[in-house]
């Protein structure tokens, strides 16, 4: 038996006459954590809402656990959803929110109580069960939302940018919490986000989406180290797009198409005369790292280095030598506008 739990085949999704998703296919394995990453408006939430059953597919099919659910209404799909704003029912306590799906399924009262208490304990919200959503913190609400989505036994959980309403520290904590809950409950996660750090830290695989089309799918490390095209290279992490003239002088090689170099692959030297002359136009101290902006031959290059690698006396206006680490450049035949 196949271990594919969610299968999207050649999906087309349209709003009226406007087709926003074209021929989208994806197979997700049971227990896998897949993130859909892309800029605002690229169609990632549309895909999630189509899987959930809130939007109909114009073409293609959706299979959940082997069952074709393409034309099933949302209430019969058996997927859990964690919304961006949590969507906790404000008139109900945390207990009632979590128990909602069980009550819909007419589960006996004693079983509801036991299951809600169990999942609340695993999610670390036992003390919050009698509270209304307005009495809980963002992180606690998030846990209730996940528990509510999990309790009915849904094998696939859809996360619609669930961390975007949290402040940065809680976001990191909740990121780890989601990962912990996933390994504890073993659910399959389909996670939509525009935050690449979030996607890369959580996911087994990340799918990069642009204008409804898959640009690349792979592990976070793979996307960063081996971007498939200019878009992925620019979208994942920072990069310098360098002119042919300059890159040839810096590397000694001939190039076609577009060439990118990551900031951390640019070396700065004050002592040697290797590389091209450049002038420092900006120094930004970002804690452990330092970001430099260097002007050379009418272009600006961004470099990133650890604070302790920065020559002590370096200041804006100083002349330095710049070089590119061997074979660190990314060359693409496409030409991103």
């Amino acid at each position: 038996m196949s271990d594919i739990i969610l299968s999207l085949k050649q999906l087309d999704i349209a709003y009226g006459d406007i087709r926003v998703i074209h021929n989208f296919s994806l197979d997700v394995k049971a227990g896998e954590f897949v993130s859909l990453l892309g800029p605002s408006g690229c169609g990632k939430t549309t895909i999630l809402r189509t899987i959930a059953g809130f939007i109909g597919a114009a073409n293609g099919s959706i299979h959940l656990d082997g069952r074709d659910v393409t034309n099933e209404p949302a209430e019969r799909r058996d997927v859990g959803i964690v919304f961006q704003n949590y969507a906790l029912f404000p008139t109900m306590s945390a207990f009632e929110n979590i128990a909602f799906g069980l009550r819909v399924a007419k589960t006996p009262e004693n079983e509801i109580k036991a299951r809600v208490e169990d999942i609340a304990e695993a999610s670390g919200i036992s003390a919050q069960l009698q509270k209304k959503p307005s009495e809980m913190s963002g992180g606690q609400q998030q846990r209730v939302a996940i528990a509510r989505a999990l309790i009915t036994g849904a094998k696939v959980l859809l996360f619609d940018e669930p961390l975007s309403n949290l402040d940065s520290k809680v976001r990191v904590a909740m990121r780890r919490e989601i990962k912990r809950l996933q390994s504890e409950f073993g659910f399959t996660a389909f996670f939509v986000t525009h935050d690449q750090e979030e996607a890369m830290s959580l996911s087994d695989r990340v799918l990069v989406l642009r204008d409804g089309i898959t640009e690349q799918i792979g592990s976070g490390k793979d996307l960063y180290a081996n971007p498939a095209n200019s878009f992925v290279c620019e979208f994942i992490g920072d990069s310098n797009r360098i002119s042919h003239h300059l890159v040839e002088r810096l590397t000694g090689n001939k190039f076609d198409g577009s060439v990118y170099v990551r900031p951390e692959d640019i070396s700065i030297s004050t002592a040697s005369d290797i590389g091209e002359k450049a002038t420092i136009s900006l120094i930004e101290h970002l804690g452990a790292q330092v970001h430099l902006e260097c002007a050379l031959q009418g272009e600006t290059l961004h470099a990133s280095l650890f604070g302790y690698d920065l020559p002590a006396q370096l200041k804006v206006g100083d002349e330095v030598r710049i070089s590119v680490r061997n074979n660190s450049w990314h060359q693409f035949s496409d030409n991103l506008k």
Partner: protein
């Protein structure tokens, strides 16, 4: 949850949905659209012939009709000016100038919110009329003054001046609060005088609202019915009254024509008001607007005059309410004989609460009000979620249907219901509804539908759609989602809408005057009749009714404030 049961649920939901739509369309067509069409027919056609020339000739030949039109025109113009002066003064006192005792003044100026329509008209007559306290006092010092000095057009103008300021109190005050004080300070720092600031900075922000409330005043004054009926006397008659007279004199065609004429005028006023509202919506660019700071009047003399007028105005508002409350606890004999009760009793309240024939109209109004609310809420709770969720021909049709009663004056609706249901009608199982108990609750329902839709639309639009999606994703069907998720969220608004509409129905006069009969005589008609009768016991009971209606209105308003503003801060600078 099984697949089959879900399918059955879906089928049941669809059947319920289409049955509800058919029922709703039948209700709106039968009791709103058909009456309007019939009014057109009655007004312009007789035995299949177009009779516009004949009816206009009859109307222009009637001196009473011409006088009523003239009275309505001058009263409306005069009321707009006097209400404007008093209303703007109130807003200035409460929101612009530093006046001592603002909390007290705020309560006093809010009185028209709970003291309106037939109750207020009776209250003003009770205070200034032939047996009124003010008349008795005046006659003590000026014996030449006639006891009916207050009755007539001037009395109507005086009463309306203080009864119609609630629009200014509610809307113009809110507009003043939208003025970003930092813009006033910016103008001041650029050397602008106080007058320039008021004219160039403050006034443009509040001007659209000022226009809108003036149009509301014109609208309300044009269809004024209870006040001229009670205070106008025999010689001062307005258009709504003459329509009632024409109908009772057996000229429904003339009544229908005048009602349509009135309806056309009112519709144009409302459309103009909506256009101004839409055009004049100013959204400040400031992310943190600064609330306006009250201005201290530097000249001591001006300050004394300002305080004097403000407190005099408060006295005018409080006096009728105070007297009604005081005399409701007084023996019936003291009404019309004492300036202030010399003794107090609970017997009037005991009479009301112990039942008896005198309380029939009160309970009629309660029964009809409850019936109208149940029908109205059932219709709107069913329709509004559909209207919010979908945008198609059906929802647009429902939108128009629910909006129509707002722009159709009550007098026109009443005439329409009379001319439609004075004979057996197949749409209501060949029944003659006129003269039955049901005709009035049906009219009340139509009358309150726009208010209910406005309340519920706001409530439903405020619901985060992801809540329903979350419930769907957990397997809940439509009815379950509505019952468990949506309804608990809108219940406070439903209660509020019910309270407001019940309050509206308790004091409703125009529809009641046209449609009441021996089976359903409501409290507003009883209040008006008791005002005309010499039975002191009845007059005392009427005062109790007035107090109960005011108390109920106050409870509704306090609940609304709590609902919209929450518990609020512990101390209030107001």
């Amino acid at each position: 949850m099984t697949f089959t049961s879900s399918t059955q649920n879906g089928r049941l939901e669809r059947i319920a949905f289409f049955s509800g739509i058919i029922l709703l369309l039948w209700f709106l067509f039968t009791f709103l659209v058909l009456p309007l069409l019939t009014t057109f027919q009655v007004a312009f056609f007789s035995s299949g012939e177009f009779r516009l020339a004949e009816i206009t000739a009859d109307l222009s030949a009637s001196s009473r009709v011409k006088k009523a039109l003239l009275n309505t025109a001058w009263m409306t113009l005069a009321t707009t000016v006097t209400v404007g002066i008093v209303g703007i003064f109130q807003v200035a006192v409460l929101e612009y100038f530093h006046v001592k005792g603002r909390t007290f003044l705020k309560v006093a100026f809010a009185i028209p919110l709970v003291f309106g329509s037939v109750v207020a008209a009776t209250g003003y007559k009770f205070t200034y009329g032939p047996a009124g306290v003010v008349t008795q006092l005046l006659q003590r010092y000026f014996p030449a003054i006639e006891s009916d000095w207050f009755i007539g057009g001037h009395g109507v103008l005086y009463s309306q001046t203080f009864l119609l300021t609630s629009f200014y109190y509610l809307f113009l005050r809110a507009a003043m609060r939208r003025v970003d004080y930092s813009t006033v300070e910016a103008a001041r720092s650029l050397g602008a005088s106080e007058f320039t600031i008021l004219r160039r900075v403050v006034l443009p922000v509040i001007m659209p609202t000022l226009f809108a409330v003036m149009l509301l005043t014109i609208y309300t004054s044009t269809v004024s019915f209870a006040v001229p009926e009670i205070i106008g006397g025999r010689d001062f008659v307005m258009i709504s009254q003459i329509i009632l007279v024409l109908n009772s004199l057996g000229r429904p065609d003339m009544a229908a024509f005048l009602a349509l004429f009135l309806g056309l005028f009112i519709m144009s006023m409302i459309l103009l008001m909506q256009w101004i509202e839409a055009k004049g919506s100013y959204v400040g660019g400031s992310k943190t607007p600064v609330p306006i700071k009250l201005k201290r009047v530097k000249s001591p003399l001006t300050n004394i005059v300002l305080h004097g007028i403000a407190y005099l105005l408060a006295g005018v508002y409080i006096l009728p309410v105070f007297l009604i409350m005081a005399f409701s606890f007084a023996p019936a004999e003291s009404i019309g004989t004492e300036v202030f009760p010399s003794s107090f009793t609970l017997s009037n309240y005991a009479s009301v609460f112990s039942g008896g024939t005198a309380t029939g109209p009160f309970f009629n109004s309660i029964r009809m009000g409850l019936l109208a609310i149940v029908i109205g809420l059932s219709a709107t709770l069913f329709a509004v979620p559909i209207m919010v969720k979908y945008n198609n021909w059906l929802t647009r049709l429902l939108d128009i249907g629910f909006f129509l009663p707002w722009i159709v004056p009550s007098v026109l609706l009443a005439i329409g219901l009379i001319v439609t249901f004075d004979t057996a009608n197949p749409l209501v199982a060949n029944q003659v509804l006129l003269g039955t108990f049901l005709i009035l609750p049906i009219a009340y329902t139509i009358h309150v539908l726009p208010l209910m839709v406005r309340f519920l639309r706001a409530a439903f639009m405020g619901i985060d759609p992801s809540l329903e999606e979350a419930a769907r994703s957990m397997g809940a069907n439509g009815i379950y989602r509505f019952r468990r998720v949506i309804l608990p969220l809108v219940i406070p608004t439903v209660v509020l809408a019910a309270g407001y509409t019940f309050n509206e129905i308790l004091t409703e006069y125009p529809l009641s005057a046209f449609l009441y009969n021996v089976n359903n005589r409501p409290i507003s008609i009883a209040i008006l009749d008791s005002d005309k009768s010499t039975n002191l016991e009845q007059a005392a009971i009427t005062l109790v009714y007035a107090v109960l209606i005011m108390a109920f209105s106050m409870a509704v308003i306090l609940f609304a404030e709590r609902l919209s503003l929450g518990k609020g801060p512990k101390t209030n600078s107001l």
